[in-house]
Symmetry: C2
Amino acid sequence: MSAIPLVPRKRGRPLKGESASLRDDLILTSAKLFRTQGYERTTVRDIAAAVGIQAGSWFYHFKTKQDILVAVMEQGMANSLARIEALDVDNLPAREAFHALVRTHLKTMVSPDHDFIPVLLYEWGSLDEDRKVTVLKLKERYETVWDGVIARLHESGEWIAPTQIDRLMTFGALNWAVQWYRPNGPLNLDELTDNAVQFLLRSEAAPASVTVSAPVAKRSRKTKTG
Amino acid sequence: MSAIPLVPRKRGRPLKGESASLRDDLILTSAKLFRTQGYERTTVRDIAAAVGIQAGSWFYHFKTKQDILVAVMEQGMANSLARIEALDVDNLPAREAFHALVRTHLKTMVSPDHDFIPVLLYEWGSLDEDRKVTVLKLKERYETVWDGVIARLHESGEWIAPTQIDRLMTFGALNWAVQWYRPNGPLNLDELTDNAVQFLLRSEAAPASVTVSAPVAKRSRKTKTG
DNA sequence: CCTACCGATCGGTAGG
DNA sequence: CCTACCGATCGGTAGG
Protein backbone atom coordinates (compact mmCIF):
# COMPACT_ATOMS: atom_id res chain seq x y z
CA MET A 1 0.00 0.00 0.00
CA SER A 2 2.17 2.89 1.25
CA ALA A 3 5.70 3.26 -0.07
CA ILE A 4 8.13 1.35 2.08
CA PRO A 5 10.33 -0.04 -0.64
CA LEU A 6 13.38 -0.72 1.51
CA VAL A 7 12.11 -3.94 2.97
CA PRO A 8 14.09 -6.73 1.32
CA ARG A 9 11.93 -9.07 -0.71
CA LYS A 10 10.55 -11.94 1.28
CA ARG A 11 9.85 -14.80 -1.04
CA GLY A 12 7.44 -17.54 -0.28
CA ARG A 13 9.92 -20.12 -1.42
CA PRO A 14 13.41 -19.71 -0.02
CA LEU A 15 16.17 -21.39 -1.95
CA LYS A 16 18.11 -24.00 -0.10
CA GLY A 17 21.70 -23.12 0.67
CA GLU A 18 23.13 -20.27 -1.35
CA SER A 19 20.30 -18.06 -2.36
CA ALA A 20 20.74 -17.57 -6.07
CA SER A 21 20.20 -14.27 -7.76
CA LEU A 22 16.69 -13.02 -8.17
CA ARG A 23 17.12 -13.47 -11.88
CA ASP A 24 17.95 -17.14 -11.46
CA ASP A 25 15.08 -17.48 -9.08
CA LEU A 26 12.74 -15.98 -11.65
CA ILE A 27 13.92 -18.38 -14.31
CA LEU A 28 13.59 -21.38 -12.03
CA THR A 29 10.14 -20.38 -10.88
CA SER A 30 9.01 -19.66 -14.42
CA ALA A 31 10.19 -23.07 -15.52
CA LYS A 32 8.09 -24.71 -12.86
CA LEU A 33 5.02 -22.64 -13.65
CA PHE A 34 5.40 -23.04 -17.40
CA ARG A 35 5.63 -26.78 -16.92
CA THR A 36 2.65 -27.16 -14.68
CA GLN A 37 0.33 -24.56 -16.15
CA GLY A 38 1.72 -23.99 -19.60
CA TYR A 39 3.31 -20.82 -20.90
CA GLU A 40 0.16 -19.08 -22.03
CA ARG A 41 -1.75 -19.79 -18.88
CA THR A 42 1.07 -18.47 -16.72
CA THR A 43 0.95 -14.72 -16.27
CA VAL A 44 3.80 -12.43 -15.49
CA ARG A 45 1.90 -11.67 -12.32
CA ASP A 46 1.97 -15.35 -11.37
CA ILE A 47 5.72 -15.47 -11.65
CA ALA A 48 6.21 -12.21 -9.81
CA ALA A 49 3.95 -13.32 -6.99
CA ALA A 50 5.62 -16.70 -6.67
CA VAL A 51 8.94 -15.00 -6.26
CA GLY A 52 7.69 -12.27 -3.99
CA ILE A 53 7.94 -9.15 -6.09
CA GLN A 54 5.42 -6.83 -7.70
CA ALA A 55 4.12 -7.43 -11.17
CA GLY A 56 5.63 -4.23 -12.46
CA SER A 57 9.00 -5.06 -10.99
CA TRP A 58 9.16 -8.15 -13.08
CA PHE A 59 9.86 -6.08 -16.15
CA TYR A 60 12.98 -4.71 -14.59
CA HIS A 61 14.54 -8.14 -15.00
CA PHE A 62 13.05 -9.24 -18.30
CA LYS A 63 11.79 -7.05 -21.05
CA THR A 64 9.14 -9.41 -22.31
CA LYS A 65 7.51 -12.65 -21.34
CA GLN A 66 9.19 -14.28 -24.31
CA ASP A 67 12.57 -13.35 -22.88
CA ILE A 68 12.06 -15.54 -19.86
CA LEU A 69 10.78 -18.38 -22.00
CA VAL A 70 13.96 -18.46 -24.07
CA ALA A 71 15.97 -18.13 -20.91
CA VAL A 72 14.32 -21.26 -19.54
CA MET A 73 14.86 -23.22 -22.71
CA GLU A 74 18.42 -22.11 -23.26
CA GLN A 75 19.44 -22.80 -19.72
CA GLY A 76 17.73 -26.17 -19.80
CA MET A 77 19.36 -27.21 -23.02
CA ALA A 78 22.76 -25.87 -22.01
CA ASN A 79 22.65 -27.82 -18.76
CA SER A 80 21.53 -31.03 -20.43
CA LEU A 81 24.27 -30.70 -22.95
CA ALA A 82 26.84 -30.07 -20.27
CA ARG A 83 25.71 -33.10 -18.30
CA ILE A 84 25.83 -35.36 -21.30
CA GLU A 85 29.19 -34.11 -22.48
CA ALA A 86 30.53 -34.63 -18.99
CA LEU A 87 29.80 -38.33 -19.37
CA ASP A 88 32.81 -38.56 -21.63
CA VAL A 89 30.96 -41.09 -23.62
CA ASP A 90 33.76 -41.83 -26.04
CA ASN A 91 35.71 -43.60 -23.34
CA LEU A 92 32.94 -46.03 -22.53
CA PRO A 93 31.97 -49.22 -24.33
CA ALA A 94 29.10 -48.48 -26.71
CA ARG A 95 26.45 -50.13 -24.63
CA GLU A 96 27.49 -48.50 -21.39
CA ALA A 97 27.70 -45.20 -23.16
CA PHE A 98 24.15 -45.62 -24.39
CA HIS A 99 22.96 -46.58 -20.95
CA ALA A 100 24.58 -43.48 -19.51
CA LEU A 101 22.97 -41.27 -22.14
CA VAL A 102 19.55 -42.71 -21.49
CA ARG A 103 19.91 -42.33 -17.75
CA THR A 104 21.06 -38.76 -17.99
CA HIS A 105 18.40 -37.87 -20.49
CA LEU A 106 15.65 -39.33 -18.36
CA LYS A 107 17.03 -37.74 -15.26
CA THR A 108 17.04 -34.23 -16.63
CA MET A 109 13.53 -34.76 -17.86
CA VAL A 110 11.87 -36.51 -15.05
CA SER A 111 13.34 -35.36 -11.77
CA PRO A 112 11.38 -32.89 -9.75
CA ASP A 113 12.93 -29.42 -10.10
CA HIS A 114 14.00 -30.24 -13.61
CA ASP A 115 11.26 -28.43 -15.41
CA PHE A 116 13.41 -26.91 -18.09
CA ILE A 117 13.41 -29.68 -20.65
CA PRO A 118 9.71 -30.47 -20.37
CA VAL A 119 9.08 -26.81 -21.03
CA LEU A 120 11.41 -26.98 -24.00
CA LEU A 121 9.61 -30.00 -25.36
CA TYR A 122 6.05 -28.98 -24.77
CA GLU A 123 6.11 -25.22 -25.11
CA TRP A 124 8.29 -25.07 -28.19
CA GLY A 125 5.37 -23.79 -30.20
CA SER A 126 5.01 -20.82 -27.85
CA LEU A 127 8.47 -19.56 -28.64
CA ASP A 128 8.76 -16.85 -31.29
CA GLU A 129 10.37 -18.13 -34.46
CA ASP A 130 13.42 -15.90 -34.38
CA ARG A 131 14.23 -16.93 -30.85
CA LYS A 132 14.43 -20.58 -31.69
CA VAL A 133 17.79 -20.35 -33.40
CA THR A 134 20.02 -20.33 -30.34
CA VAL A 135 18.23 -23.22 -28.75
CA LEU A 136 18.36 -25.20 -31.96
CA LYS A 137 22.13 -24.97 -32.08
CA LEU A 138 22.40 -26.47 -28.64
CA LYS A 139 19.99 -29.22 -29.64
CA GLU A 140 22.09 -30.17 -32.59
CA ARG A 141 25.15 -30.62 -30.43
CA TYR A 142 23.07 -32.73 -28.10
CA GLU A 143 21.88 -34.93 -30.90
CA THR A 144 25.35 -35.33 -32.29
CA VAL A 145 26.46 -37.04 -29.10
CA TRP A 146 23.63 -39.54 -29.47
CA ASP A 147 24.34 -40.14 -33.12
CA GLY A 148 27.90 -41.00 -32.26
CA VAL A 149 26.93 -43.60 -29.70
CA ILE A 150 24.25 -45.12 -31.90
CA ALA A 151 26.76 -45.40 -34.71
CA ARG A 152 29.10 -47.27 -32.39
CA LEU A 153 26.27 -49.57 -31.32
CA HIS A 154 25.72 -50.28 -34.95
CA GLU A 155 29.36 -51.20 -35.46
CA SER A 156 29.27 -53.55 -32.52
CA GLY A 157 26.17 -55.19 -33.93
CA GLU A 158 23.90 -54.10 -31.11
CA TRP A 159 21.81 -51.81 -33.26
CA ILE A 160 20.80 -53.23 -36.59
CA ALA A 161 20.69 -50.75 -39.43
CA PRO A 162 19.93 -47.56 -37.58
CA THR A 163 18.06 -45.06 -39.69
CA GLN A 164 17.57 -41.37 -39.15
CA ILE A 165 14.16 -42.27 -37.94
CA ASP A 166 15.50 -44.49 -35.19
CA ARG A 167 16.94 -41.64 -33.22
CA LEU A 168 13.69 -39.76 -33.57
CA MET A 169 11.77 -42.77 -32.28
CA THR A 170 14.24 -43.19 -29.46
CA PHE A 171 13.76 -39.65 -28.29
CA GLY A 172 10.05 -40.06 -28.64
CA ALA A 173 10.00 -43.11 -26.42
CA LEU A 174 12.10 -41.37 -23.79
CA ASN A 175 10.49 -37.94 -23.93
CA TRP A 176 7.08 -39.45 -23.48
CA ALA A 177 8.09 -40.40 -19.97
CA VAL A 178 7.36 -36.82 -19.00
CA GLN A 179 3.72 -37.68 -19.49
CA TRP A 180 3.42 -40.72 -17.31
CA TYR A 181 6.44 -41.13 -15.06
CA ARG A 182 5.97 -40.10 -11.45
CA PRO A 183 9.15 -39.63 -9.39
CA ASN A 184 7.55 -41.15 -6.33
CA GLY A 185 5.86 -43.97 -8.15
CA PRO A 186 6.86 -47.64 -8.22
CA LEU A 187 9.80 -47.14 -10.57
CA ASN A 188 12.93 -45.30 -9.58
CA LEU A 189 15.25 -43.69 -12.08
CA ASP A 190 17.54 -46.67 -12.43
CA GLU A 191 14.70 -49.08 -13.03
CA LEU A 192 13.21 -46.72 -15.53
CA THR A 193 16.55 -46.51 -17.27
CA ASP A 194 17.00 -50.27 -17.38
CA ASN A 195 13.55 -50.70 -18.82
CA ALA A 196 14.15 -48.05 -21.43
CA VAL A 197 17.48 -49.47 -22.51
CA GLN A 198 16.06 -52.92 -22.76
CA PHE A 199 13.16 -51.66 -24.79
CA LEU A 200 15.38 -49.67 -27.11
CA LEU A 201 18.06 -52.29 -27.57
CA ARG A 202 15.99 -55.45 -27.15
CA SER A 203 18.86 -57.25 -25.55
CA GLU A 204 18.74 -60.76 -24.23
CA ALA A 205 19.60 -59.57 -20.76
CA ALA A 206 16.47 -58.67 -18.83
CA PRO A 207 16.63 -55.49 -16.75
CA ALA A 208 17.89 -56.03 -13.24
CA SER A 209 15.22 -55.17 -10.72
CA VAL A 210 11.91 -54.87 -12.47
CA THR A 211 9.03 -55.78 -10.27
CA VAL A 212 6.49 -54.07 -12.47
CA SER A 213 6.78 -56.57 -15.26
CA ALA A 214 4.07 -59.16 -15.83
CA PRO A 215 2.91 -59.88 -19.38
CA VAL A 216 1.19 -56.55 -19.96
CA ALA A 217 -1.47 -55.68 -17.46
CA LYS A 218 -4.95 -54.98 -18.74
CA ARG A 219 -4.53 -51.39 -17.73
CA SER A 220 -1.94 -49.29 -15.99
CA ARG A 221 -2.69 -46.10 -14.16
CA LYS A 222 -4.48 -43.45 -16.13
CA THR A 223 -2.26 -41.77 -18.66
CA LYS A 224 -2.54 -40.07 -21.97
CA THR A 225 -3.01 -42.52 -24.79
CA GLY A 226 0.14 -44.14 -23.61
CA MET B 1 -25.39 -4.04 -39.08
CA SER B 2 -29.16 -4.18 -39.62
CA ALA B 3 -31.02 -7.35 -38.81
CA ILE B 4 -31.13 -9.52 -41.90
CA PRO B 5 -30.55 -12.88 -40.28
CA LEU B 6 -31.96 -14.95 -43.08
CA VAL B 7 -28.92 -14.77 -45.31
CA PRO B 8 -27.23 -18.17 -45.17
CA ARG B 9 -23.72 -17.97 -43.79
CA LYS B 10 -21.06 -17.65 -46.41
CA ARG B 11 -17.91 -19.25 -45.11
CA GLY B 12 -14.45 -18.49 -46.32
CA ARG B 13 -13.63 -22.15 -46.49
CA PRO B 14 -16.25 -24.27 -48.20
CA LEU B 15 -16.28 -27.93 -47.36
CA LYS B 16 -15.71 -30.27 -50.22
CA GLY B 17 -18.69 -32.37 -51.22
CA GLU B 18 -21.45 -32.57 -48.66
CA SER B 19 -21.29 -29.47 -46.56
CA ALA B 20 -21.33 -30.69 -42.99
CA SER B 21 -23.23 -28.93 -40.27
CA LEU B 22 -21.88 -25.67 -38.97
CA ARG B 23 -21.25 -27.39 -35.69
CA ASP B 24 -19.03 -29.98 -37.35
CA ASP B 25 -17.30 -27.27 -39.26
CA LEU B 26 -16.60 -25.43 -36.04
CA ILE B 27 -15.10 -28.51 -34.46
CA LEU B 28 -12.96 -29.27 -37.48
CA THR B 29 -11.72 -25.72 -37.74
CA SER B 30 -11.02 -25.54 -34.02
CA ALA B 31 -9.01 -28.72 -34.22
CA LYS B 32 -6.83 -27.25 -36.91
CA LEU B 33 -6.34 -23.99 -35.07
CA PHE B 34 -5.72 -25.66 -31.74
CA ARG B 35 -3.11 -27.81 -33.36
CA THR B 36 -1.26 -25.08 -35.15
CA GLN B 37 -1.55 -22.28 -32.62
CA GLY B 38 -2.35 -24.04 -29.41
CA TYR B 39 -5.55 -23.86 -27.44
CA GLU B 40 -4.74 -20.80 -25.38
CA ARG B 41 -3.46 -18.80 -28.30
CA THR B 42 -6.56 -19.52 -30.32
CA THR B 43 -9.39 -17.14 -29.58
CA VAL B 44 -13.07 -17.76 -30.03
CA ARG B 45 -12.90 -14.92 -32.49
CA ASP B 46 -10.29 -16.79 -34.53
CA ILE B 47 -12.53 -19.79 -34.85
CA ALA B 48 -15.60 -17.74 -35.65
CA ALA B 49 -13.76 -15.78 -38.32
CA ALA B 50 -12.27 -18.90 -39.90
CA VAL B 51 -15.75 -20.33 -40.25
CA GLY B 52 -17.39 -17.11 -41.36
CA ILE B 53 -19.60 -16.17 -38.46
CA GLN B 54 -19.50 -13.42 -35.88
CA ALA B 55 -17.70 -13.83 -32.60
CA GLY B 56 -20.90 -13.53 -30.64
CA SER B 57 -22.64 -16.12 -32.75
CA TRP B 58 -20.06 -18.65 -31.76
CA PHE B 59 -21.61 -18.93 -28.33
CA TYR B 60 -24.86 -20.05 -29.83
CA HIS B 61 -23.19 -23.34 -30.74
CA PHE B 62 -20.92 -23.85 -27.77
CA LYS B 63 -21.39 -22.47 -24.31
CA THR B 64 -17.72 -22.18 -23.48
CA LYS B 65 -14.36 -22.51 -25.15
CA GLN B 66 -13.75 -25.63 -23.10
CA ASP B 67 -16.80 -27.22 -24.66
CA ILE B 68 -15.27 -27.17 -28.09
CA LEU B 69 -11.98 -28.48 -26.78
CA VAL B 70 -13.62 -31.58 -25.32
CA ALA B 71 -15.62 -31.94 -28.48
CA VAL B 72 -12.41 -32.06 -30.50
CA MET B 73 -10.78 -34.58 -28.20
CA GLU B 74 -13.79 -36.81 -27.85
CA GLN B 75 -14.43 -36.90 -31.55
CA GLY B 76 -10.77 -37.55 -32.27
CA MET B 77 -10.53 -40.38 -29.80
CA ALA B 78 -13.84 -41.89 -30.85
CA ASN B 79 -12.78 -41.92 -34.48
CA SER B 80 -9.38 -43.40 -33.74
CA LEU B 81 -10.99 -46.07 -31.68
CA ALA B 82 -13.48 -46.85 -34.39
CA ARG B 83 -10.76 -47.12 -37.00
CA ILE B 84 -8.68 -49.41 -34.89
CA GLU B 85 -11.55 -51.62 -33.90
CA ALA B 86 -12.53 -51.86 -37.55
CA LEU B 87 -9.21 -53.54 -38.23
CA ASP B 88 -10.60 -56.65 -36.62
CA VAL B 89 -7.20 -57.29 -35.25
CA ASP B 90 -8.05 -60.60 -33.62
CA ASN B 91 -8.33 -62.26 -36.98
CA LEU B 92 -4.84 -61.29 -38.09
CA PRO B 93 -1.53 -62.91 -37.23
CA ALA B 94 0.07 -61.06 -34.36
CA ARG B 95 2.69 -59.33 -36.42
CA GLU B 96 0.31 -58.21 -39.11
CA ALA B 97 -2.06 -57.02 -36.46
CA PHE B 98 0.67 -54.95 -34.91
CA HIS B 99 1.64 -53.53 -38.26
CA ALA B 100 -1.96 -52.55 -38.90
CA LEU B 101 -2.23 -50.88 -35.51
CA VAL B 102 0.92 -48.88 -36.05
CA ARG B 103 -0.15 -47.80 -39.50
CA THR B 104 -3.55 -46.72 -38.35
CA HIS B 105 -2.18 -44.95 -35.32
CA LEU B 106 0.35 -43.04 -37.38
CA LYS B 107 -2.20 -42.23 -40.00
CA THR B 108 -4.69 -40.65 -37.64
CA MET B 109 -1.89 -38.66 -36.13
CA VAL B 110 0.08 -37.51 -39.05
CA SER B 111 -2.23 -36.99 -41.99
CA PRO B 112 -3.18 -33.47 -42.84
CA ASP B 113 -6.73 -32.78 -41.67
CA HIS B 114 -6.24 -35.12 -38.77
CA ASP B 115 -5.62 -32.57 -36.12
CA PHE B 116 -7.74 -34.16 -33.45
CA ILE B 117 -5.25 -36.52 -31.90
CA PRO B 118 -2.35 -34.08 -31.86
CA VAL B 119 -4.64 -31.71 -30.02
CA LEU B 120 -5.54 -34.48 -27.63
CA LEU B 121 -1.90 -35.26 -27.03
CA TYR B 122 -0.51 -31.79 -26.74
CA GLU B 123 -3.36 -29.79 -25.26
CA TRP B 124 -4.40 -32.30 -22.64
CA GLY B 125 -3.23 -29.97 -19.92
CA SER B 126 -5.61 -27.30 -21.17
CA LEU B 127 -8.65 -29.43 -20.56
CA ASP B 128 -10.50 -28.92 -17.28
CA GLU B 129 -10.05 -31.85 -14.93
CA ASP B 130 -13.70 -32.86 -14.77
CA ARG B 131 -13.94 -32.98 -18.52
CA LYS B 132 -11.16 -35.49 -18.87
CA VAL B 133 -13.21 -38.44 -17.71
CA THR B 134 -15.09 -39.19 -20.91
CA VAL B 135 -12.00 -38.99 -23.02
CA LEU B 136 -10.09 -41.20 -20.63
CA LYS B 137 -12.63 -43.97 -21.02
CA LEU B 138 -12.17 -43.99 -24.75
CA LYS B 139 -8.42 -44.03 -24.31
CA GLU B 140 -8.57 -47.07 -22.14
CA ARG B 141 -10.48 -48.99 -24.77
CA TYR B 142 -7.91 -47.90 -27.30
CA GLU B 143 -5.06 -49.12 -25.16
CA THR B 144 -6.74 -52.42 -24.51
CA VAL B 145 -6.60 -53.25 -28.19
CA TRP B 146 -2.87 -52.65 -28.20
CA ASP B 147 -2.31 -54.65 -25.07
CA GLY B 148 -4.03 -57.58 -26.67
CA VAL B 149 -1.82 -57.55 -29.73
CA ILE B 150 1.34 -57.04 -27.72
CA ALA B 151 0.41 -59.98 -25.55
CA ARG B 152 0.01 -62.12 -28.64
CA LEU B 153 3.37 -60.96 -29.94
CA HIS B 154 4.80 -62.06 -26.67
CA GLU B 155 3.27 -65.49 -27.02
CA SER B 156 4.68 -65.87 -30.51
CA GLY B 157 8.10 -64.89 -29.21
CA GLU B 158 8.29 -61.67 -31.18
CA TRP B 159 8.18 -59.42 -28.15
CA ILE B 160 10.40 -60.50 -25.31
CA ALA B 161 9.02 -59.88 -21.86
CA PRO B 162 6.79 -56.89 -22.52
CA THR B 163 6.39 -54.70 -19.46
CA GLN B 164 3.81 -52.08 -18.75
CA ILE B 165 6.45 -49.59 -19.66
CA ASP B 166 6.90 -51.04 -23.12
CA ARG B 167 3.52 -49.90 -24.32
CA LEU B 168 4.18 -46.46 -22.93
CA MET B 169 7.48 -46.32 -24.78
CA THR B 170 5.84 -47.57 -27.92
CA PHE B 171 3.25 -44.83 -27.86
CA GLY B 172 5.98 -42.35 -27.10
CA ALA B 173 7.98 -43.37 -30.13
CA LEU B 174 4.93 -43.16 -32.37
CA ASN B 175 3.37 -40.03 -30.93
CA TRP B 176 6.59 -38.15 -31.32
CA ALA B 177 6.16 -38.38 -35.06
CA VAL B 178 3.75 -35.48 -34.76
CA GLN B 179 6.78 -33.34 -34.02
CA TRP B 180 8.94 -34.18 -36.96
CA TYR B 181 7.02 -36.03 -39.66
CA ARG B 182 5.98 -33.97 -42.65
CA PRO B 183 3.32 -35.50 -44.91
CA ASN B 184 5.04 -34.22 -48.02
CA GLY B 185 8.54 -35.07 -46.92
CA PRO B 186 10.70 -37.95 -48.14
CA LEU B 187 8.82 -40.63 -46.20
CA ASN B 188 5.31 -41.66 -47.05
CA LEU B 189 2.99 -43.26 -44.56
CA ASP B 190 3.87 -46.83 -45.48
CA GLU B 191 7.57 -46.23 -45.24
CA LEU B 192 7.10 -44.51 -41.93
CA THR B 193 5.09 -47.48 -40.73
CA ASP B 194 7.69 -49.99 -41.85
CA ASN B 195 10.40 -48.06 -40.12
CA ALA B 196 8.40 -47.80 -36.95
CA VAL B 197 7.53 -51.48 -36.87
CA GLN B 198 11.10 -52.46 -37.48
CA PHE B 199 12.28 -50.13 -34.75
CA LEU B 200 9.70 -51.41 -32.30
CA LEU B 201 10.08 -55.09 -33.06
CA ARG B 202 13.70 -55.21 -34.13
CA SER B 203 13.03 -57.92 -36.61
CA GLU B 204 15.54 -59.44 -38.93
CA ALA B 205 13.56 -58.32 -41.92
CA ALA B 206 14.59 -54.83 -42.98
CA PRO B 207 11.80 -52.45 -43.99
CA ALA B 208 10.92 -52.61 -47.64
CA SER B 209 11.64 -49.32 -49.30
CA VAL B 210 13.75 -47.19 -47.07
CA THR B 211 15.94 -44.82 -49.00
CA VAL B 212 16.55 -42.57 -46.04
CA SER B 213 18.71 -45.07 -44.24
CA ALA B 214 22.48 -44.66 -44.07
CA PRO B 215 24.29 -45.23 -40.76
CA VAL B 216 22.85 -42.22 -38.96
CA ALA B 217 23.43 -38.92 -40.67
CA LYS B 218 25.28 -36.22 -38.79
CA ARG B 219 22.11 -34.21 -38.66
CA SER B 220 18.64 -34.49 -40.01
CA ARG B 221 16.36 -31.57 -40.64
CA LYS B 222 15.73 -29.34 -37.70
CA THR B 223 13.46 -30.88 -35.15
CA LYS B 224 12.86 -30.73 -31.48
CA THR B 225 15.48 -32.61 -29.56
CA GLY B 226 14.59 -35.55 -31.65
C1' DC C 1 -26.96 -16.16 -36.13
C1' DC C 2 -26.08 -10.71 -35.37
C1' DT C 3 -25.14 -6.27 -32.73
C1' DA C 4 -23.48 -4.11 -28.95
C1' DC C 5 -21.16 -4.28 -25.06
C1' DC C 6 -19.10 -5.47 -20.36
C1' DG C 7 -15.99 -7.00 -16.88
C1' DA C 8 -11.74 -8.90 -16.12
C1' DT C 9 -7.24 -9.82 -17.21
C1' DC C 10 -2.95 -9.24 -19.15
C1' DG C 11 1.50 -7.64 -21.12
C1' DG C 12 3.79 -3.74 -20.85
C1' DT C 13 5.22 1.42 -19.64
C1' DA C 14 6.33 5.75 -16.99
C1' DG C 15 8.44 7.71 -13.49
C1' DG C 16 10.41 7.36 -9.49
C1' DC D 1 12.33 -2.84 -7.14
C1' DC D 2 7.53 -0.14 -6.36
C1' DT D 3 3.17 2.52 -7.64
C1' DA D 4 -0.08 3.67 -10.80
C1' DC D 5 -1.99 3.01 -14.87
C1' DC D 6 -3.07 2.19 -19.94
C1' DG D 7 -4.38 0.00 -24.16
C1' DA D 8 -5.77 -4.10 -26.07
C1' DT D 9 -7.76 -8.35 -25.99
C1' DC D 10 -10.63 -11.90 -24.61
C1' DG D 11 -14.37 -14.95 -22.93
C1' DG D 12 -18.82 -14.38 -22.34
C1' DT D 13 -23.79 -12.11 -22.09
C1' DA D 14 -28.18 -9.63 -23.41
C1' DG D 15 -31.53 -9.04 -26.38
C1' DG D 16 -33.12 -9.52 -30.52
